[in-house]
Symmetry: C2
């Protein structure tokens, strides 16, 4: 199989530069101002797929941002792998914390710094270069389909409709996704689960206008203070979520799984040093890996209200807002938790304010069975190129479309993530190690080989 | 004395238009981008004072925005009234809530809508037109000095130095200030006290960078949640402030004063309807007027952290911020309360975050004795033009320079406020009733007359 390695070695600079070009397009799905950048990015993905050897690529418009579908069918009777990825990225704010412009990829110490470098353009692009590798070396032995969407970072509001109305087009034997992380190049790992999500926004209204905090201060309920009291009540002194019913459907991890998780290397001092924190934090009775893996959480993603500008303004504001999201584990339901969250916030709001709460987006948790062909092929592929078998771990993030694919297409999803937790996903200075980019391109062809053999 | 009324009637349109011109200058002291507007405004005040008949006007530079000093000395042996006012205004944000541009004065139903119309350009300008009235009708019988600063809305950081180094220049027998409100044209009132202020900003830092709320959520202390818990702990279930020592120096109002305050008209339903609130709120055991008058308060003026833009971003932020201010009553000390606030916030911060807290500005509370010549003259003046004696009330706002003037110049301050609590001070759609503007110009000449007679 050295043909793969040889081809990749002699084209590696081009592979990298093509990926950097993709990162230069500010495809921020959350912001309407980037609508045209989204179209530009979708067309770039289509062009790269065709160059790589796909025999059919189409851009499907949606009510939101378009979906790119591509395929290379060598023989309909052979196994088919559906590669899912996304070309949209998170907003880059706060911009002043970036060491280099988020959409001007900058290479430092073998790392590509840019929004989307790891999540997910860089990882998605590995699969396009794998297709090229297999086609150009005449070693493709299965069918490969690509479904690359532009709305993952806003909750894939239009993917469900696309999948359910294109089941035949998307028909495959498994879904392969590289939109997650592994522990390290020395200790490869595979996510066997992702958490679900319920992301809401809350608006607390007190008086009908901003008031002078001297003239009215002390005699009118302050929406910031009320919102703070509401938020403070959501966790108890053990950082356990206090919302009635929140934990009802949580599947308690077995002692076996917790023991297996405990095998994953975790250096508390390294963790604290990397994040610059003095103490770790979380739900009492669980380790850090368990807190992000097998337990649901409730996080404040944003808060604002009153005067937030330079200097001082003595105002008692009319409104205060917060963005709040819960991460869910099997068998919690995103819809059910969203209702529980919204109803609870309405319920605990005192009579002197009005509370509006609404859903931004949600997604179901997902687990991949270790005994599935897809998992086995992924594990064997990584063992082949890393020289050591990967550890199965639970990922803390969410890939809401997993449950969707399984439900609509009746197939399993496998995650081959080549990013690192330290890649600053969703943060300033997001990065992707070039070594990981090449390692992914080196490894994924073996997945196709082994999955075809196992099928 | 009809000469006053005659002169004012025949010039009223010009008086109003001159005031509108002053409101067109965006003299926002809190924002560095308005530095030149501040100078333009100071020069406009100087020009108007000279036109009105002042025989000497100078603009004194400070480390911040300049101070305008003017005087009309008819006879050094006669009583001297020092008029204090300010030409700076609060920031106009949030702009989208204004029905007309904040710096394009718009007249609707006899009200001037513009930032600074009531606080304090409009009220300050009444005194300039009173000087003109007295000079042009040759009825000035006392000396008048003007000290018009440009930093009142940011806590007068440079006025103290100016006053202490210009005691001879500012020498007077009382300070007259129109920077407050009265109950209504039917029920005139005079503030006999203003609250002090301690305005701080808090920064809570968790991890050293924004994190992915899925990858890290549940395992790292969220600074927004921590800040919310800190804020929530500052008031108990009776809306009593929980900070140890906060109430130590509060002078408890006498039963007599509380009985007198109870005489001031207050319609709870009108109050609720005006503010659009379902219930009143405040410290248990006190009326609304007492809560804003004789009791200290702690208000959240602003809060921000994480992602506050359009859509959703699944981030666990590095930092969260809040602007918090306390209103103080005799004999609380601004410096002491500031120390208590900052130390308390540091003390209640958990070990997994870092808290920075610093002072924006402060000011001491002040009380005007009812038996002072200045108060007697003000009361008699209002009774003359309103036909009814004004009610002495406690104002909820702060005029930090009061204590300063009394301390440095050894004279009493009297407040003749012609605004209304409903004038939206510091809020969108700030207004000043034209009728109140004219009533002030009609009334203030009598203050000078009676104060001179009583002296």
């Amino acid at each position: 199989m050295n043909a793969w390695k040889e081809y990749q070695e002699s084209n590696k600079e081009r592979f990298l530069n093509e990926m950097l070009d993709l990162l230069r397009i500010p495809s921020v799905s959350a912001k309407s101002e980037h609508k045209n950048d989204m179209i530009t990015c979708a067309e770039a993905v289509k062009a790269r797929l065709l160059e790589a050897g796909a025999d059919k690529v189409d851009i499907y418009p949606t009510d939101g941002h378009p979906i790119v579908y591509g395929e290379k069918i060598i023989d309909p009777t052979k196994p088919t792998v559906l590669v899912y990825g996304h070309y949209d990225v998170q907003p880059a704010e706060p911009l002043d914390l970036w060491n280099s412009p988020p959409f001007e990829p900058t290479i430092v110490d073998g790392k590509v710094f840019a929004r989307g470098s790891c999540d997910d353009k860089g990882q998605m692009y590995m699969h396009i270069k794998v297709l090229e590798t297999l086609v150009k070396t005449n070693t493709l032995e299965n069918n490969i389909k690509f479904c690359i969407e532009g709305e993952e970072e806003i909750g894939s509001p239009n993917l469900g409709k696309f999948v359910s109305t294109h089941k035949e087009l998307l028909k495959a034997d498994c879904v392969l996704i590289s939109d997650s992380a592994m522990i390290s190049l020395d200790t490869p790992s595979i996510d066997i689960g992702v958490r679900g999500l319920s992301y809401i926004e809350v608006e607390v209204t007190g008086p009908n206008r901003d008031l002078h905090s001297g003239v009215y201060g002390g005699a009118v309920a302050n929406p910031i203070t009320i919102l703070a009291k509401m938020i403070a009540s959501l966790h108890d002194e053990n950082n356990h979520i206090t919302i009635p019913g929140f934990y009802d459907d949580v599947v308690v991890a077995t002692a076996e799984e917790r023991a297996l998780m405990a095998k994953a290397p975790f250096d508390e001092n390294e963790f604290k040093t990397d994040l610059g924190i003095k103490e770790i934090w979380g739900e009492k009775g669980y380790t850090t890996n368990e807190r992000t893996g097998i337990r649901p959480t409730l996080e404040l993603n944003g808060i604002w209200g009153g005067y937030t500008g330079e200097g001082a303004k003595t105002v008692l504001p009319s409104k205060a807002f917060a963005k709040i999201s819960a991460r869910l584990v099997p068998n919690q339901s995103s819809d059910k938790i969203t209702d529980i969250l919204i109803n609870h916030l309405q319920k605990i709001a005192p009579a002197n304010v009005t509370v509006k709460a609404s859903l931004h987006h949600g997604g179901e948790p997902y687990m991949t069975p270790i005994d599935s062909k897809a998992y086995q092929a992924a594990s064997k592929a990584m063992e082949t190129t890393f020289g050591v078998a990967p550890i199965p771990v639970r990922g803390g993030g969410s890939i809401p479309i997993c449950a969707l694919f399984e439900q609509e297409l009746g197939i399993k999803i496998v995650f081959m993530g080549f990013g690192l937790d330290s890649d600053n996903l969703h943060s300033p200075n997001e990065k992707f190690n070039i070594a990981n980019f090449y390692k992914g391109i080196e490894t994924i062809p073996y997945f196709h080989k082994y999955f075809t053999e196992l099928s």
